[in-house]
Symmetry: none
Subunit: 312 residues, 2 copies
């Protein structure tokens, strides 16, 4: 069913237009810095595309960058004359010319790339760590909302715990469960306690933590701890809203199950609350059975706690 949202308010339109003017100036300032080089902005874009996606046919290059074929041809000829690129006829389709950067081309491009990165780094350096996080969250939000072709999004990786993860996971779960369920600080404190205990008592033979990371950002995590020699416990599963629907939650649970089986545990147990509907669906799909339920008041709310077990 197609969505039929209300027309946007004038003030919403005006704010986006103001942002567009503001950000056009921002990008213009960054590009001005770049134009201190002997290459035009378009030329640098061509080099960039070849450096990161090359080799490419001229047609593909022009398509990617939205350039007139005749104009591109002249740019490439100049680059070839300067030894920055090689051009060769494709063996498969002799209409096509394959373009690749030479070593000299890469050497020429590197300082331009670094200069561009340095400008952005300088811009970010004026911000504190949490301001940077806010900025990055904001740009991710805009890309996610406005970019129609970003699906399927880049894959995530799973990795182990690093410095800063514990606090970040505590922070994000605190904020998210407050936003989504109205839970108070005591939930965040519980998460902090569990995570701290995991680190302090960590036994790498029997216990593990998986961090889902995408583009350098944590997008989910889960912990498995040794409850008893035969029982493992899955704790603190969470997935960022911006990364939901990609199977990350399922994947994290599957990793736990795989690890628990490999270690010879007989049972994988977990405690959740009934309002965590998405998580519960994952557990049920994985074969967990509800073994206990009890009402309790926690985190400033009346909740129904549930214990689920999976026989391995």
């Amino acid at each position: 069913m197609s969505r039929m949202p209300t027309p946007p308010a004038d003030h919403q339109v005006d704010r986006i237009r103001r942002f567009n003017r503001f950000y056009t100036r921002q990008i213009g300032l960054l590009n001005e810095g770049l134009l201190d080089s002997e290459y035009s902005l378009t030329e640098v874009r061509v080099l960039y595309e070849l450096a990161y996606r090359g080799p490419l046919t001229a047609a593909a290059l022009g398509q990617d960058l939205g350039l007139d074929a005749g104009y591109l041809s002249r740019i490439l000829r100049r680059f070839e004359g300067r030894g920055l690129i090689d051009r060769s006829r494709s063996a498969e389709d002799r209409r096509q010319v394959l373009v690749s950067l030479t070593d000299a081309g890469r050497t020429t491009f590197q300082p331009l790339d670094r200069a561009s990165a340095a400008q952005v780094a300088a811009m970010l350096s004026g911000l504190s760590a949490s301001e940077r996080e806010s900025l990055l969250q904001a740009v991710s939000t805009i890309e996610r909302l406005l970019d129609p072709i970003r699906k399927p999004e880049e894959p995530y990786i799973l990795r182990s715990l690093q410095v800063g993860d514990i606090g970040w996971i505590v922070h994000r779960q605190g904020v998210l469960y407050a936003q989504e369920y109205g839970w108070d600080e005591s939930f965040e404190a519980l998460v902090a306690e569990i995570a701290a205990a995991f680190v302090k008592a960590y036994d790498p033979i029997w216990e593990r933590c998986w961090i889902a990371e995408r583009e350098g950002e944590v997008v989910g995590s889960v912990f498995l701890v040794r409850h008893s020699p035969e029982v493992a416990k899955l704790r603190l599963l969470y997935v960022e809203p911006s990364a939901r629907g990609l199977g990350i939650g399922r994947r994290l649970v599957d990793e736990c199950i795989g690890f628990a089986k490999a270690k010879g545990y007989r049972t994988l147990t977990l405690w959740t609350n009934d309002v965590l509907v998405s998580a519960r669906r994952i557990y049920q799909a994985a074969g967990f059975r509800l073994v206990k339920e009890e009402a309790h008041r926690s985190f400033g709310k009346d909740l129904v706690g549930q214990t689920w077990d999976l026989t391995l």
Copy 2:
């Protein structure tokens, strides 16, 4: 003393650069729609500026839009020829020409303005109401963080604990002490434990936490807990590198001392490590005395722990 924030991570720089490329395309698409008119983008920008900020002198107009004076002169002459603007010598300074839109100019500009607004409205129409709010939040965040003409930095405020703070403080201390002193995850776990314990056992009569916040971002914090009926304990003092040198650390310690005195404690105690030089200076300046020292190995390092007391 100048701020010395940590250099941004490469992945942070890369994400901003990717966003810039993405948003340049976004703006380009919007501008392409505009160029279906008989006016160039620059001409429309001139009309826009005159419509919203006119009348203006030609010099001011060129300054605002970053246009070459000769080029602008020609644009204005074309507009005058079409009856879109009036130009008149300023009575105050006869070098200056005052430019204003005529009724015909406004009539010409209106559909261009509406077309531009309609494009943004169409873009927003593809989003749900909450997605629009997220988008608007995100663009406001970017403007607030990157716009150089925002107010000279606001002073910080001190406030009490909110959801998300615990995790954030754990995260930042974990990251900072790893960067600055090479401490491992166990330090972060300790911070998590202490912070969690503070929340779980919080007694608002005898204990307190101060969060230093500036422009919506946490820039420091300290906790005071009840060690015994007569002894208060200061814990987890930290200040963000980007906010150091502003007296925040001293202020947080002073707040602790004031609160401890007000509550009738006799002693304010704290444990630190000798490598935390800036913190130690603050404690000494506040009158704390070193009462115990012991070597220990923690956080992956050989350290010298120190206990300092202040008699109130």
